[in-house]
Amino acid sequence: MTSLSSAVALPSSCRGARPAGGRARLLVARAAASSPKLPSGRRLRVAVVGGGPAGGAAAEALAKGGVETVLIERKMDNCKPCGGAIPLCMVSEFDLPLDLVDRKVRKMKMISPSNVAVDIGRTLAPHEYIGMVRREVLDAYLRSRAQNAGAEVVNGLFLRYDAPKEPNGTYVVHYNHYDGSSNGKVGGEKRSLEVDAIVGADGANSRVAKEMGAGDYEYAIAFQERVKIPDAKMAYYEERAEMYVGDDVSPDFYGWVFPKCDHVAVGTGTVTHKADIKKFQAATRLRAKDKIKGGKIIRVEAHPIPEHPRPKRVSGRVTLVGDAAGYVTKCSGEGIYFAAKSGRMCAEAIVAGSANGTRMVEESDLRKYLAEFDRLYWPTYKVLDILQKVFYRSNAAREAFVEMCADDYVQKMTFDSYLYKRVVPGNPLDDIKLAVNTIGSLVRATALRREMEKVTL
């Protein structure tokens, strides 16, 4: 975000109270004249806990901004269970090399509870795609970039931190240091680190969040099996991902088949019926049965996905980014881009608030990052929340959803908002037509639902 880094070099009088709840204009962050210069000219020291997309992006932006950064990651070769889809804007905004993207998905198939299949992607331009990445590859790349920018990457497990004793004192971060082998020896050596601020980027089960009393959130369980299927069947998934909706597959989410480098990931998720996840997984496999026949399951994995942000995202000079903060959208469950973006925005706010690492930061500087993030992406999150509420409600709504997806205008709007993260208003006449068609689809599906109740098979 250029607006954040533009006003960095000019310490002047303080900007005033944090923008309330999100109406901030361009975020012009100037270091408070009163915030003390760091003693003996040392640089600001920040610990980034967690080395995923959020942590890697944060550490890189911090290091580039002249802040002394330590990135603590517990498992350097971690294969985080993840759908692995990244939007086009992430590739350009984060300058990702194209060989990071295993597959470019240009066609998606949406499949309704009664197996009505709709292909979406007709409206995509040749250069547009959804990138499928392997998390272990992406995370390692972002961490190495942070290291090249000057961050110190440490293999360790964050344990807890001690809050500072005086107002401008330092935090002490305690962690288990693992040496040598990247698999993390059991035990490890207890070490501690004095820092001025902590960025919690340690994911859905964030320990930093627990330490700072950030509160809990509702979360979905995403369960996934990686299946190696024969090459002939893999050709079908060359550029295609599938989404299955239905009560059998998930009562409040969707089942998916996403292509990865040389296998597919078949999975599903749920918030409200976590105990039945294996049943939902079996149903997903059943729906894709013929297409993954003969496949071997090479890995089974599961992970929680936050449903909404934690009640408290900042406390003193400790803040959360990425999944730890809860920045996962509803409806699609997308989190990678928002993790990386929030990490970068937080880092830029710290760099600006500390005048490139020369002054101490304060909670208000961290709140500026929150305000800016909320302002930028609130429309996206809200729209996806509305879509989830309306279309994932029942099988009838899902049938209407899949029917709507056949419409070109819907496809164009969906992809525009997903690939570039902008909620574009579009042509008003088309919007009205879309609204009418949506209501029509919903009404028809509900009417059919009422007929279904009368049917005795």
């Binding site: 009664s114 997984q281 009640p311 304060e362 809200k382 599906a445 009417a447």
Partner: protein
């Protein structure tokens, strides 16, 4: 294996409220049997088939699960068949003579020269019900492409909107008549004069809105839930700003 217990965990009622309670007396005992069927399909699809041990008594006189259009009517000689269900292939896939190439062949719904849209709606409802109870694998060769918008709007109106409109108008008329009588008896203001009065017009508006929005007892509760739902997500996002005690930076 733990898998066995989890696949047979009783399905939570909220997942399928309609199926559970809908017409218990019409289906003799299909509910537990259908559930077992579905769970077995799920089990068979992914894990090793698990043994089914249904109570022997509940087998007589079940209605044929496969209706006439599916060809062979699987008659209710279920008792011996029950025990082998775990090993035998589950319920046959959806078949209908009029369902061709993943959509309804409208020429087969001919009624006196025009298409019998009611029959199309019935057929589609049946198909969806079938697939909801017995989810099927998708097939790339026989992709389902049926779109309900091919059924014209007036067919939907005639079938669904008109009876409901009749019911609601009837209710509104009854309420209106008695309110008009009541107000007249209390205040002596006749119907024509009532229509000129602002308060009466407001009451009329409230009566019409009430009849539209509240059709069943549950609707009152549902409306309140919807209102809460629309703002819940916003509240979750604003939570971090609620307890802000730092105010501005220290000057």
């Amino acid at each position: 294996m733990a898998m066995a217990t989890s696949t047979f965990s009783p399905r939570p009622a909220s997942l399928r409220p309609l199926r559970a309670g809908a017409k218990p007396h019409l289906h003799l005992l299909p509910f537990p049997r259908f559930r077992a069927g579905r769970l077995e399909r799920a089990a068979a699809a992914g894990e090793a088939p698990v043994e089914v041990a249904p109570p022997a008594g509940e087998t007589e006189a079940e209605p044929a699960p496969a209706a006439a259009s599916n060809g062979a009517a699987v008659k209710a000689v279920e008792a011996p068949a029950k025990a082998t269900e775990a090993a035998a292939p589950p319920v046959p896939a959806f078949r209908d003579a009029r369902w061709v190439n993943g959509t309804w062949d409208l020429s087969k719904f001919d009624k006196g020269g025009a298409v019998d849209w009611d029959a199309v709606i019935d057929a589609e409802a049946r198909r969806r019900k079938w697939l909801e109870d017995y989810p099927e694998a998708t097939n790339t060769e026989e992709a389902v492409v049926f779109d309900t918008s091919i059924i014209p709007w007036w067919a939907w109106m005639k079938r669904f909107h008109l009876p409901e409109a009749e019911k609601l108008n009837g209710r509104a008329a009854m309420v209106g008549f008695f309110m008009a009588y009541f107000v007249d008896s209390l205040t002596g203001v006749g119907l024509v004069d009532q229509m000129g009065n602002f308060f009466c017009k407001t009451l009329l508006f409230v009566a019409v809105a009430g009849v539209l929005l509240v059709r069943k007892n549950e609707d009152l509760h549902n409306l309140k839930k919807i209102i809460d739902e629309t703002t819940f997500y916003d509240k979750q996002w604003q939570a971090t700003w609620q307890d802000d005690t730092t105010g501005g930076p220290k000057n």
